[in-house]
Symmetry: C2
């Protein structure tokens, strides 16, 4: 006798529709595999009249209560996006003892401690594999497969929109504005692209990823965040000439009780496995004490890949109603006091300067760096228009503060800092 | 109050030692994360006197019964390698209701149905994440995260020894024998390398991987297997010239109820993500109806990465003693009758011929292929010594039988077939 599991959807747009279709198409196969009869009981939509037509209207409702308080529903699947009302709906569902599956990184990152507390208090499960990296099974890999390991680094390409834009800029030498406009036309970037291009989306994901990787709460507020809007094709071209590829990375590193978490454009050596992850692909590179280096890549967006990850969570939840997965760290509102978050990380730096092409300028640049004990690994100088020169240099490892201090000592009337991009390896 | 979980080791060499050290070094952290106090109760070794000295002698025993019948032991970790006595020891452990964790692909692939039946009959768990791809979480990704999906393809670099050999041959233009000898000296290949270089190891792994990917038993006997011993540096060099990289791949494809499973040297376009997985890295490429394309890569061997995967299994087992993971297919001795296994797959082919350099030879080659309706995608002809020529061609998609038939019609006195290597994309 198959176990019947009833689902309620909060939202039924692109992702909800994808999940509906997967569960319908795979219903009999899932029944055969897991002896579970998945039934979609109801779906909250804004307007039944305006809802998508490929889903039966008779499961749709405009009342959240119909979904959240229905005692026959076992699992609530949240597909609304945005922080509210998604977070408070999930909270209510968990308080009603219902397991929640979500792909909503923003609502989760900002309310995780409350949601997990409600889940634990009411014996419910909270699953979010699709919240980071789409179909890439990075959440389960970190929480289960690598649970005995000590992860010291996660670096991810976790935003497909920015990866598409940087890949196009790199392959075609086009400007940011130009590629963004095209991506918007193709539906690969939102009409208001801020959440993606300014790195907010990546920062929510990094909050989740680094919390589970480092077994301690890393709140969104601790993340240093810079987007890609100031990247010029010149940066990408000079970087390529020096053997580097530009990516928007979400980086988390832990050494003892010190954590650095940052989202910013980053140069990677061309041989780095993340450097080859192009277009709308996502990938997460992981390093740990025992596992050493590994990388998981796949589709970070799209209704079908996202539905695959969500339905993996639904099936796991359905087969573990009495034993839900619980993150193995204290999921508190604020980070553990024992942990220090540093903004003064150490990496290498790519610096592009626009300088007067006069004797002594290169010397003044060199002294500014050496005064802060920063050594330069490679340097390129090119003549530019109007008696100016472009100076591009990559430093050896240096601390963020030292580099910022060195750049601040340059006389902006003679040497203008065009860009400062971190380099990882 | 922490839950105490007692382990018994079968074998305590390189992998067992790695697991011992991980569990010792991470003991307190694991206690904190999962509230589980892992204790290693006993370890079966061949000779206590000759056993490794970095593990306390007082847990060692030379009697399998001490480990298998100890009622205080919850989980048996098998690190013996080889089919027997590992398989019968695991069988006995499962029949005693003990959960088993193993990395032994050979014992598992050949005895899986018996082991799973014993596990299910006695409420025990059977975990084997480290049996394929070392630390790469491919087993859990397929069985859990992708459980709602329909996987139609798995392609893996699952043997580090052969990947190291092919990478060295490719990068340095050296011969197989030469690189093998060096790999043996470095400890990267066994004194008797047959299991690796003839593809047996990869075939055991493919049996496991394709069974869980396709939700049906794929026995080892169904796998077409060819090794790398006949690969010449010429093949690799000509392939590279045409844009391809050579890998020993374990390939499983499913379309409706037809499955093809094969291990053989394979050319991949240089842009394929697996083409860039070099040296001793492992990687598994997965394609499915919903997930689309994904790839997981990491360390396929080594005591630390393997220990990480094994200990992930141990912790999962320890936290799910009442609800062990069960593969979602009928794990029978023989494959399901409804499934057809085909040896007549369709792919592209790289063919290298040594031909008399006389008028009409190229025409005779062309007609041999066109007679079997095989079209040629690219062709290269080069003069060789003694009035001979090398003809290298890559076909469009063709069936295995058609290609074999076409090659059989060539007159070996005029055209000798030097190599026939499948090409995937």
């Amino acid at each position: 006798m198959a176990k019947v599991i009833k689902l309620g959807f909060l939202g039924c747009g692109n992702i909800g529709g994808g999940v509906y279709h997967l569960l319908t198409e795979m219903h009999d196969e899932i029944l055969k595999r897991e002896n579970i009869d998945i039934q979609i009981k109801s779906a909250l939509v804004k307007s039944i009249a305006e809802a998508r037509t490929d889903i039966p209207k008779d499961i749709m409702t405009e009342s959240a209560d119909d979904v959240l308080t229905d005692p026959s529903i076992d699992i609530i699947c949240e597909f609304m996006g945005g922080e509210q009302p998604a977070a408070s709906f999930m909270q209510r569902a968990l308080e009603n003892g219902k397991t929640v599956v979500t792909a909503n990184k923003m609502a989760l990152a900002l309310n995780w401690h409350k949601l997990q507390a409600a889940a634990s208090a009411h014996g419910a499960g909270l699953y979010y594999e699709a919240s980071v990296g789409g179909v890439i099974p990075v959440i389960r890999s970190l929480t289960v497969s690598l649970d005995a390991d000590e992860i010291d680094q996660v670096m991810g390409i976790v935003n497909g929109t920015t990866n598409y834009i940087l890949t196009q800029m790199s392959q075609q030498g086009r400007s940011y504005a130009d590629v963004l406009a095209e991506a918007q036309k193709l539906g690969l970037a939102e009409p208001n692209p801020t959440a993606d291009v300014e790195g907010y989306d990546a920062a929510y994901k990094l909050s989740i990823l680094s919390s589970i990787a480092f077994h301690t709460r890393v709140t969104y507020q601790k993340i240093h965040r810079e987007g890609i809007t100031n990247i010029s094709p010149d940066d990408i071209a000079y970087g390529r000439e020096m053997g580097y590829t530009l990516k928007l990375l979400a980086i988390g590193k832990r050494a003892a009780d010190s954590i650095e978490v940052r989202v910013h454009p980053t140069f990677l050596p061309n041989e780095h496995p993340l450097a080859r992850v192009d277009g709308s692909l996502n990938a997460i590179y992981i390093h740990g004490r025992y596992c050493q280096d590994m990388m998981l890549q796949g589709r970070g967006a799209g209704d079908k890949p996202t539905a695959s990850a969500i339905c993996g969570d639904i099936l796991y939840a359905a087969t573990h109603m009495d034993n839900p997965t619980v993150p193995s760290f204290a999921n508190t509102a604020e980070p553990d006091d024992a942990i220090t978050f540093t903004d003064n990380w150490v990496c290498r730096y790519f610096i592009r300067l626009d300088a007067a092409d006069t004797p002594g300028v290169l010397g003044s640049v060199a002294s500014a760096f050496s005064a802060k004990s920063i050594s330069i690994a490679s340097l390129l100088q090119r003549p530019a228009a109007d008696g100016r020169a472009q100076i591009i240099l990559i430093t050896h490892e240096a601390s963020e503060c030292a580099v910022q201090d060195a750049l601040a000592t340059l006389n902006p009337e003679i040497v203008r800092v065009e860009s400062m991009i971190r380099v990882e390896s």
